[in-house]
Structures are given as structure tokens and as C-alpha cells.
């Protein structure tokens, strides 16, 4: 299961990665300075892995002083769940699972057949935030991912309905982060705001961080749907008339298996991925996320309702 990584080379010790790391660690330390009960959102995807790596560095040699939360749509890649459980156990990090399936079973939300589960993550997320009395929620969202996220603050206040109000955001000046909030409100914290997809991979290479295998090229049975390569899983059977074929693919993002597409790739190492990402002419969400293709403002609409 373990992918052996090349040791980081000196050539990759790029100065701007150190700048980004210093900024992220400063932000994460402010969380511990300003909040009582933080939690870090951890999906097992590359961004949350980098964020957790930075959080552990920020408090080193202390252990991570707060838990991580996985908002679980139930449509997982087994490789990612295996990675999550094994690595968190290694690091001694506590896991909270906010389950979409449990929320459906409890009647908190209802699922329309054929609907993507990404939008359904909001209720279990907010329920888990309330239940855990979390006042700071660290997320791995990056401003370069999506145009609504480009307008997001590093410290972003959510009201007691978890809503984001993009027109009423606090000005965020210098490196002074204002985490003051009222009871019932919480603050979303985005330490990777200024990172790009390429920065994430260059940093993973520099630090020698292990990532789940689905990020590397492998053979998989897929169908082509909405212009994306979608893996066949128990949640995503082939539809009538779709031709099943075996392709060498990898994932650029890790999300709900029903709406996350794979890309054709031969990249088998992190170094290959860095090169491939640098040369890519398509954004990661454009290549792989069905949920953001719904409309020009799909992400803004989900974020307003409390999505990450």
C-alpha cells in the first residue's frame, strides 16, 4: 500500500514554499491562541493531508492538541479510508466522523435519487460542529480552486446557521487575524488560502509526505460521463449504453466517488505529478468535479449555506 517517495532534492527547496509554510504555520498557531475548541477537516485528500502536516509542525514537539473531522458522504474510495485510519493511528490523532448516511437514516436530511451528495454534507457538518462545540474549523480550501473561494478570508466567520455572507466579510489586514465571534457562531480557518495546486504537490515532494495511492497512475475500469472519466464502484455502476473500458488514470482531487472524475495519466511518482500539474491546461475542479459544473455560482451558493 505504501508508496515509496523520492527523497526531496535540494533543487526543490524553493523559497516560496518556505514563505507559504511560514504563513500557514503562523495562521494555525493563531487558532490555538484565539480559540477554545478547534477541529481540522480531514478528508484524506492532498490538501487536508498538507494542512494536517502543517498543523503537526506548528505545535511540534507537542502533539496535535485537537481532533480532526471527516465529513463522510458514504461514497468513499477504500484506498483513502485505509490511508485515513492507518495514518491517524500512527500520528495519534483523534478522529470525529460526521456521516451523511447517518443523517439520512436519522431523517435530518433526505436524498433525492440521482442527487450528488456533496451538497448534503452541510447538515452533518454543522450538526457535528454544534455537538462538538467547535469554535474554529480548519479547512484546506484554496483561493485558486474556484472563483468564489478566491473571495474568501483566512478567518471567515459563520453565523449560527453556518452561513457565509460574501458581501459582509471582515476586512483582513496584515497578518492580524480577527477570530472574535459571538456564542453560537464559529470561524472557518483556511491556512492554505494562498497555495496553488502546484504548490501543494511541490510541498508534498519537498517534505516527503505520503498520499493515498489513488493519486498515482493505476489501471481502473471507467466509463466516460459528462466528459469525465468516472470509476466503476458500488455507488457508480455503468449506465445503460455506457461503454466500460480499462484506462490508466489517477485522481487530481479526492471527493465523493460519485462526482469525482479521474484523469488519464502515467504519473507514478510525486515528481511526475509536479511536472504533470505544471503542464496542465485544465484546472483541477474543471477536470474532476461534476458538482461545480452545475452553474456559474454553484460553489458560492453551497458556501453561503455552510459548505466548506
Amino acid at each position: 500500500m505504501t508508496t515509496v517517495l523520492r527523497p526531496p532534492s535540494d533543487a526543490l527547496d524553493r523559497a516560496w514554499l518556505t514563505d507559504l509554510e511560514d504563513e500557514a504555520i503562523h495562521i494555525i498557531r493563531e487558532v490555538l491562541g484565539q480559540f477554545e475548541r478547534p477541529v481540522l477537516l480531514f478528508s484524506g485528500g492532498k490538501d487536508s493531508i498538507v494542512m494536517l502536516h502543517l498543523a503537526m509542525k506548528a505545535y511540534w514537539p507537542s502533539r496535535l492538541p485537537f481532533p480532526v473531522m471527516h465529513v463522510d458522504t458514504g461514497h468513499n474510495f477504500p484506498e483513502v479510508i485505509e490511508y485515513r485510519d492507518r495514518k491517524l493511528a500512527d500520528w495519534g490523532v483523534k478522529l470525529v466522523v460526521a456521516s451523511v448516511q447517518d443523517a439520512i437514516d436519522a431523517g435530518r436530511i433526505s436524498e433525492t435519487p440521482g442527487q450528488l451528495r456533496n451538497g448534503l454534507q452541510t447538515v452533518p457538518l454543522l450538526d457535528a460542529i454544534t455537538e462538538g462545540k467547535f469554535d474554529a474549523v480548519l479547512g484546506g480550501a484554496r483561493r485558486d480552486e474556484e472563483k468564489a473561494r478566491a473571495k474568501e478570508r483566512v478567518f471567515s466567520v459563520r453565523d449560527d446557521f453556518g452561513q457565509w455572507d460574501p458581501r459582509n466579510q471582515r476586512p483582513e489586514l496584515w497578518d492580524l487575524y480577527n477570530g472574535r465571534h459571538r456564542p453560537g457562531e464559529h470561524v472557518r480557518i483556511f491556512p492554505l488560502s494562498n497555495w496553488t495546486e502546484l504548490d501543494i504537490w511541490a510541498y508534498i515532494e519537498r517534505e516527503g509526505i505520503e498520499v493515498p495511492d489513488i493519486y498515482f497512475a493505476h489501471k481502473r475500469e471507467v466509463v466516460e460521463r459528462d466528459g469525465m472519466l468516472l470509476a466503476l464502484t458500488e455507488f457508480t455502476p455503468a449506465r445503460e449504453g455506457e461503454a466500460i473500458r480499462t484506462e490508466t488514470v489517477r485522481y487530481r482531487t479526492v471527493g465523493d466517488a460519485t462526482c469525482t472524475g479521474a484523469v488519464a495519466s502515467t504519473a507514478t511518482t510525486v515528481a511526475d505529478i509536479v511536472i504533470e500539474t505544471a503542464a496542465s491546461t485544465i484546472s483541477e475542479r474543471g477536470a474532476t468535479r461534476a458538482d461545480d459544473r452545475a452553474s456559474e455560482a454553484a460553489m458560492e451558493d453551497r458556501k453561503r449555506l455552510g459548505y466548506f
Binding site: 511560514d22 498557531r29 506548528a58 460574501p166
Partner: protein, 414 residues
């Protein structure tokens, strides 16, 4: 740091073509990906525009796209072979000046846009005042739409002269003027052949070649964010102070004073998870160990010994950028957030307000939204400050509304 990030802020009045310039920079620097370009083309067509409106690349919010204006700061990221950039694209409307202030606060360089047909207007002076006040160390004046004035050198020269006059009254001693045409890309990435009289660099060449002067040579400033005490079997007695070096260089073996208490000690170690460092320059996030077991908590400042010394004070003379609708008046109370410290504050007096048209201070007894003015502030507990002119970090603070938690002012210690 060398080879590090360059943070750029752009500012311009409405319809100066700023979003077009940013779109052009990103497009010509190959930072716009195929699917993003397709999305812009589709959205432009839906709006009945001729050709792709590059502004739709940066205007991400529904309200912005509906109104065709930029409301909030958008951060864009691009890299060339020579440099990595973070670009804060800020709105032009006067009512959103607070977002220009936000973008300027972290910028190394400002690009101020002027329409060649209208020249320097009040909003140009406002942007210049903000950049000067927040000490953005490099300023470029991009005179846009040169195509609409026949690439006329005389028009350009006249605008540069007007801008220089405003700059002089704001104590900006240097700036770099560049004539451009964002729509066609003249002098944006490549030098224009249509303005042979201009011998200088294109805008991107200018940005790539910029050398950002370090902050004036200060003894180290290290505000403590968190005290690290693992109490594990491996590290039973470890006690370190985690923070970010905000000025100068902190070295192992340095004598330091811990403020505001004034206790002295010596740096015995500078730790990172990747190993110990012999020194840490400004910007580095590290954990510091000291020789003496003294009481240190979040909010304290570890400072190198030497001049200039920071001032421990309960009274501030400051310049404020007022960021909210409700005006500021004397006797108003707030929380003041400075480095890692949070204290109660009362504004004793509003002294003056900057008049943008004349670029000079006028007597005033209140500050309204987007006003810049001088005030006196009294604090419940001391904070340890430098003048903002000496250090952007230890000289900056926020005023926060005690009830709502909103950030209502950006403050600069005089």
C-alpha cells in the same frame, strides 16, 4: 525573501480597465486554464458581450457578475519562469476603498491604474494615499488605454506630472510610470512597438525584476503566539515560545528582553520540526527557547537588545482607516488587536481627517466610512509598539467592535 513570493496589489477607478489588465496579465502569463477560459467565453456570450470579457475571470461573486463591478478583493496566483506572484485585485468604487486597504496591507508593490483619457482623478489620489500610508514600498503608475489617445507621449507625460505632484504631497519619493493598453496587451507582458518613445520595461518585466528593499535594520521582534510545553516522555521539560519573527534577525545566543515585563534573557535555541536553526530572519515561523525560566505568555514580545527600542505604552497616537458605516467619535470603545495581544481601548480624540482632493489633513471630530484620520487612543493595558514607519507588523493594529466582533478600523502607530 530572495526567490520568494511577490505580493502585488492593483487599484484603479471604475472603468479604468483594471479587471481587463489583470485578465490580460493572467492570460498572457499563461495562468488561465482552458476550462476557465471556456467558462468565461460561455458567460460572456450569455451576457451578449462581443468576445470574452476577461473581467469575468476575476469577478467571482454573483453580485459582482450581475452588476459588472468588482466588490471584494480577489486573490489570483501566477508564476513566471522568474517569479511567483500573489495578486490582490481590489475594487475601484469609492465605497469599497476598505478592500483596497486590505489588499495594500500585505503588498510589496502597488500597480495604480489611470485611464489615459481622464488622467489623475480623486480616486487615484485616494489609492495613492492608501499605498503611501500602508507603506507599499514600490508603486507603479500604469497609464491605461493609450490606444485611445493615439499612443501620445505628451498625454502620458502630463499624467505623470500630475501624479508626481500628488505623490510629493503624500511623501512618496519614487514611482515607476508605464504606458499600457490592456485590451491589446501593449506593454503588459511584451514591450509595445507602438510606443517607441517609451524606453522602459513592460509591466510584467518590471514586476519580475523588482527588488524589494528589506525593512529598515531593526533588532529582532518576536511576538509570542503560543507557549509549547509537550510534557511527553520524550520532551518532559521542553518549554518553547512559538511565533513568527516580525522584524530583524533572531540569532541563537542573542541577548533579548521580554516585554512588557522588561526581564532579560538569552536565546538558547531556535527550533523547527526540521531541526535547529542558528538564526531566523523576518517572516520565519519558529519556536524559541530561552536560558531563564521566566513568565512568558501569548501577547508578550521577545525583542533583540538595541536601538530603536520598542515602546511599551498605554497611549497611542495613530492614523486610522475607518472601515465601517457607523462613524467614529471620541469616547467610542473597542477591542484593540496588536500582534498577538488583545486589549480594551477608548478613542480619546479624533484630531484630523485627510482631505483627498487637496491631499492634506483637515480638522475633524469624526471619521466616516473610508476616511483616513489621526486619533489618540488610550488602552486598558500596555502594548509594545514600534512606529509603523519603522515596522509594518509591530506598528499595525485593528480596532474591533466588542459586541459584533467586526473589524472596524485599520490602525497605524505614528
Amino acid at each position: 525573501m530572495p526567490g520568494g513570493l511577490l505580493r502585488v496589489v492593483t487599484a484603479g477607478s471604475v472603468d479604468d480597465g483594471k479587471s481587463t489588465l489583470v485578465g490580460r496579465l493572467l492570460h498572457d502569463a499563461k495562468a488561465v486554464l482552458a476550462d476557465q477560459m471556456t467558462a468565461v467565453e460561455v458567460a460572456s456570450e450569455r451576457r451578449g458581450y462581443e468576445g470574452a470579457d476577461l473581467a469575468l475571470l476575476v469577478d467571482g461573486l454573483r453580485a459582482e457578475r450581475e452588476q459588472g463591478i468588482t466588490i471584494d478583493v480577489a486573490y489570483r496566483y501566477f508564476a513566471t519562469a522568474n517569479r511567483t506572484f500573489i495578486l490582490a485585485d481590489t475594487p475601484g468604487h469609492v465605497q469599497y476603498t476598505r478592500n483596497t486597504v486590505t489588499g495594500a496591507s500585505t503588498a510589496d508593490v502597488a500597480v495604480i491604474l489611470v485611464d489615459a483619457r481622464t488622467g489623475v482623478v480623486e480616486q487615484t489620489k485616494r489609492h495613492l494615499a492608501v499605498m503611501s500610508l500602508l507603506r507599499v514600498s514600490q508603486i507603479a503608475l500604469a497609464v491605461n488605454k493609450m490606444d485611445l489617445v493615439d499612443y501620445d507621449e505628451a498625454v502620458f507625460d502630463r499624467i505623470v506630472t500630475d501624479f508626481a505632484a500628488a505623490a510629493a504631497s503624500l511623501e512618496v519619493d519614487h514611482f515607476t510610470p508605464i504606458p499600457i493598453a490592456a485590451l491589446s496587451g501593449d506593454n503588459v507582458v511584451d514591450r509595445s512597438e507602438r510606443m517607441a518613445w517609451y524606453g522602459g520595461k513592460s509591466l510584467l518585466e518590471y514586476l519580475e525584476g523588482l527588488e524589494i528593499a528589506d525593512e529598515p535594520d531593526l533588532p529582532a521582534r518576536f511576538p509570542v503566539q503560543v507557549v509549547i510545553r509537550p510534557r511527553t516522555a520524550e520532551h518532559p521539560d521542553y518549554r518553547g515560545y512559538a511565533g513568527r519573527v516580525e522584524a530583524g534577525i533572531l540569532r541563537k545566543g542573542d541577548a533579548v528582553s521580554v516585554l512588557p515585563s522588561g526581564r532579560r534573557s538569552t536565546v538558547t535555541g531556535i527550533d523547527t520540526p526540521d531541526g535547529e536553526l542558528s538564526e531566523a530572519r523576518a517572516g520565519r515561523s519558529v519556536t524559541v527557547r530561552l536560558a531563564d525560566d521566566i513568565d512568558i505568555a501569548r501577547g508578550d514580545l521577545i525583542a533583540g537588545i538595541g536601538d530603536p527600542e520598542p515602546a511599551s505604552t498605554r497611549e497611542l497616537s495613530a492614523t486610522l482607516c475607518w472601515l465601517t458605516d457607523k462613524p467614529l467619535r471620541a469616547a467610542d470603545r473597542f477591542r484593540l488587536r496588536h500582534t498577538t495581544r488583545d486589549v480594551r481601548a477608548v478613542v480619546d480624540a479624533v484630531e484630523s481627517r485627510l482631505d483627498i482632493a487637496s491631499v492634506s489633513p483637515m480638522p475633524a471630530d469624526e471619521l466616516g466610512l473610508n476616511d483616513i484620520g489621526r486619533v489618540r487612543i488610550r488602552l486598558a493595558e500596555p502594548i509594545v509598539v514600534d512606529s509603523y514607519a519603522i515596522n509594518r507588523s509591530t506598528g499595525a493594529f485593528l480596532l474591533v467592535d466588542e459586541t459584533s466582533g467586526a473589524t472596524v478600523a485599520a490602525g497605524l502607530v505614528r
